[in-house]
């Protein structure tokens, strides 16, 4: 027991002693362009030989090294600590992501190390100068606002810097007032502003001293002309100074094209999407984490939370946790944003989660780009208790109001479409039966008329025969039987009337009708009238039968009847 306690105490003491000496490595800035000066600072509580591991081969150190020490007081314990620092400045000539460190401080036979530091070196962004007046060119020094683009899309990063030209070698600046951005746009400083590097440059054919200052990346949030007001400063050469007011600058901010895809997340730049599911073998009802990572360069800080579309059997709990891991570089926000979703698997079995798609706008290609993560299969083990609980919940929810039925139709149903009305088929279909009916009506009528004609002819034939027989009787009638003679005369006239009126039914005609008929046919109606009167006189006993010329009457009657058809 004693031995164990001794070991533990020793280990604790070593741990405490080991933590007493510290070494810190810092790099400022941690994101910069190729050729841009940056500073590596090692701060330690112990003095010794300094060594920094993993410096890139493209690192070029300049001659400026500063060393010194400061003292820190811990006001709680009253302990005073001496910190030794060493700063190097230099440039990196190749773009990329670098991990520098650890830094080692060797004191005696002991070595103390720092943590490692990540830096991001981006490609040099070419800048365009703003306009310069002739007056400015004639001044000893002048300034322009530089930008990487004169026209950008909404959301696209814009790099701005103050560029100062002079005909003399400047020593320092004072009273600097930065260029002003209209609106509430945040400036994201780029590079090392404290370390100004003056270079020789040719500008409009003139050899000048020049340096960049106050480099910022901004993300204009307005569409249209974006005004940048001038910067001001005093440029010194020793005790002499010259006041500079630069020209302003107008940037055109174009709106994004209409009709963005439904999964557009507001990104402008170049991005990729990755998805990580921590555990692909889980139990039913278990909540697992799905991390959606959007990485790339652009306006990462302004992205909207992507909609996570999951199949049935997965429930997303709450809003995702957002972790931003990016740095602002000359090209915009560079790095990634993680969206961590908590998801519960409610079904069991092998479930496939389809890839998540997001769309962004690529300003270089000037179009929307859709990127898709991989599909993942999850194995979910059945949990009896959870399944029972789920089934109960489903039963209860069935009695509640159904908000939206998202079911699709499983069976393909077709709707009859096509123009039949007005087509030849339609008119044929309707026309043939109707025409057939009308034709049938027409033929029926013709047939009926034909039958009627035959019937009438037959009747007329009988009537004619009867009339001829009657006339023969009349012709043969004895002159002694006067009453019989007149009866035959009347019968003959009646038969003649019937015969010559084929369209009428058989009936007895009156005397006037007979006389009218005789008149109309040009017969001797008066003579027949006399005969009929005589007949009536004789029938009713009024006399007049003594001196009758029967033969003459017979002749006249027969002649009149025969002429009735005229």
């Amino acid at each position: 027991m004693k031995i164990l306690l001794t070991y533990l105490f020793t280990a604790f003491a070593l741990l405490v002693y080991g933590q007493k000496e510290k070494v810190e490595l810092s790099i400022s800035p941690d994101a910069f362009e190729i050729g841009e000066v940056f500073t590596i600072t090692v701060t330690s509580t112990v003095q010794g030989n300094l060594e920094i591991e993993n410096l890139p081969s493209s690192y070029v150190q300049d001659y400026s090294i500063s060393q010194g020490s400061t003292q820190e007081v811990d006001y709680n314990s009253g302990v005073v600590t001496t910190l030794y620092y060493t700063s190097y400045s230099g440039i990196i000539t190749k773009s990329g992501d670098y991990t520098i460190g650890p830094a080692w401080v060797k004191a005696g036979n002991k070595s103390y190390s720092s943590d490692k530091v990540d830096v991001k070196v981006s490609r040099k962004v070419s800048m365009n100068s703003g306009s310069v007046t002739a007056q400015q060119l004639n001044d000893p020094a002048f300034g322009v606002i530089e930008c990487n683009k004169r026209e950008i899309f909404e959301g696209e990063p814009l790099l701005l810097s103050a560029k100062i030209y002079s005909y003399y070698d400047p020593s320092h600046i004072s009273s600097y007032q930065s260029y002003h951005l209209n609106g509430t746009i945040i400036k994201n400083p780029i590079g090392n502003s404290s370390n100004i590097k003056v270079v020789d440059e040719r500008f409009k054919g003139k050899k000048l001293k020049a340096f960049d200052y106050d480099k910022n990346v901004i993300f204009p949030d307005v569409v249209g002309n974006f005004q940048i007001d001038p910067f001001k400063l005093n440029l010194h050469q020793g005790y002499k100074s010259f006041p500079i007011t630069s020209s302003g600058l107008v940037i055109k901010v174009k709106p994004l094209p209409a009709n963005p895809p439904n999964d557009f997340i507001g990104g402008a730049g170049s991005f990729n999407v990755e998805r990580l599911i921590e555990d692909t073998a889980i139990a039913q009802g278990e909540v697992f984490k799905l991390i959606l990572t959007i990485e790339g360069t652009g306006n990462l800080q302004n992205l909207e939370v992507p909609d996570l579309i999951l199949p049935k059997g997965f429930v997303v709990y709450g809003d995702p946790t957002v972790n931003e891991n990016f740095v602002i570089t000359a090209n915009g926000a560079d790095g990634s944003v993680d969206y961590e979703y908590n998801i519960q698997a409610t079904n069991f079995g092998k479930q496939s989660i389809p890839g998540t798609s997001v769309s962004y706008f690529d300003p270089d290609k000037e179009k929307y780009i859709r990127v898709l993560s991989d599909e993942v299969e999850i194995s979910i083990e059945k949990d009896k208790k959870f399944q029972e609980q789920l089934e109960k919940q489903n039963l209860n929810s069935e009695t509640e109001m159904i908000v939206h039925n998202a079911d699709i139709r499983q069976k393909a149903e077709h709707v009859e479409r096509g123009s039949l009305f007005g087509s030849a088929v339609y008119w044929t279909g309707v026309g043939i039966p109707v025409t057939a009916a009308l034709f049938f009506l027409f033929f029926t009528r013709i047939k009926k008329r034909s039958e009627e004609d035959i019937r009438v002819k037959s009747i007329q034939k009988g009537r004619r025969e009867e009339l001829e027989l009657c006339l023969k009787d009349l012709n043969d009638a004895s002159t002694s039987d006067i009453s019989g003679f007149f009866t035959k005369v009347e019968d003959a006239l009646q038969l003649a009337m019937v015969y010559y009126h084929p369209d009428q039914e058989d009936r007895r005609y009156s005397k006037s009708e007979i006389l009218d008929k005789l008149n109309s046919s040009g017969s001797n109606a008066d003579r027949i009238g006399e005969i009929l009167n005589t007949s009536e006189n004789l029938r009713y006993g009024f006399g007049g039968g003594e001196s009758l010329d029967i033969d003459s009457m017979r002749r006249d009657v027969i002649e009149s009847i025969r002429s009735m058809n005229k």
Partner: protein, 246 residues
């Protein structure tokens, strides 16, 4: 040999079986929540098989899942054009408008009576018309042939009724055909589009918002400008690419 087999195989796939297979494939993608895949499949099916009302409905459902409410309204309006009495499509349109925050803005193109009539296709009405003409003619001929039947007056009654029905169904067929092929509508599927008050597009009208239904009066294919009226009978001119015709 392989290509020969392939050709034979392709030949053996009939049009119907292809669309049916694609439709089922789209359904599977939808159920697997692969909505982008489902969308492209359904779009192909409805492009080729324009009478497949189920595919059009499922296309609308996919747009709903993808939150493309303007396109969803377009798809369900297309379903209603094919089958004006489709209750489910109406419910989905209401849902899409609810999601767009404009529930009271939608009304069926047809009134309830027309909706009921046009739920039967123009072709069917035309067929009814032909059937009634046959029945009318048959009874008419029967009436001529059999003069002394006791049911003569009933035959005449039916005969005249069939004549009336023949004319009526012919008229409905004509109206339904006009609705199916003559009337042209379109839906605004973007969040907002510009409208103009004159054909030269010099005078700007109000912005038309997603889900707006417009009746197309005239289409100038050369300049790609459409003369349209909105539900309040206001006349506008819009760009062809800004809207989606039903």
């Amino acid at each position: 040999m392989k290509s020969f087999v392939n050709i034979l195989f392709l030949l053996s796939i009939t049009f119907h079986s292809w669309t049916q297979a694609s439709f089922e494939e789209g359904n599977k993608a939808y159920l697997d929540a692969k909505y982008d895949d489902a969308l492209s499949i359904y779009e192909k099916v409805v492009e080729i098989d324009q009478t497949n009302v189920s595919a059009m409905y499922n296309l609308g459902m996919t747009h709903i899942q993808l939150k493309n409410y303007g396109d969803a309204i377009w798809a369900f309006e297309s379903v209603l054009k094919l089958n004006p009495s489709d209750k489910q499509a109406e419910e989905q349109i209401f849902y899409a408008y609810t999601e767009l925050g404009a529930i009271n803005e939608w009304q069926h193109i047809l009134g309830p009576f027309e909706k009921a009539l046009f739920s039967i296709s123009s072709k069917s009405w035309a067929l009814f018309s032909v059937i009634f003409s046959v029945l009318f003619s048959a009874l008419f001929i029967l009436n001529l042939v059999k003069k002394n039947l006791i049911q003569q007056k009933y035959i005449l009654l039916f005969c005249s009724s069939f004549l009336m029905l023949m004319i009526l169904t012919g008229f409905i067929s004509y109206k339904a055909q006009t609705f199916e092929t003559g009337s042209k509508y379109a839906i605004v599927t973007s969040s907002k589009i510009d409208s103009f008050l004159n054909e030269k597009l010099t005078s700007k009208g109000p912005e038309l918002t997603i889900g707006n239904r417009l009746q197309i009066l005239r289409e100038d294919t050369a300049s790609k400008i459409l003369e349209v009226i909105d539900v309040n009978d206001n006349l506008y001119f819009v760009h062809l690419e800004d809207i989606k015709a039903i």
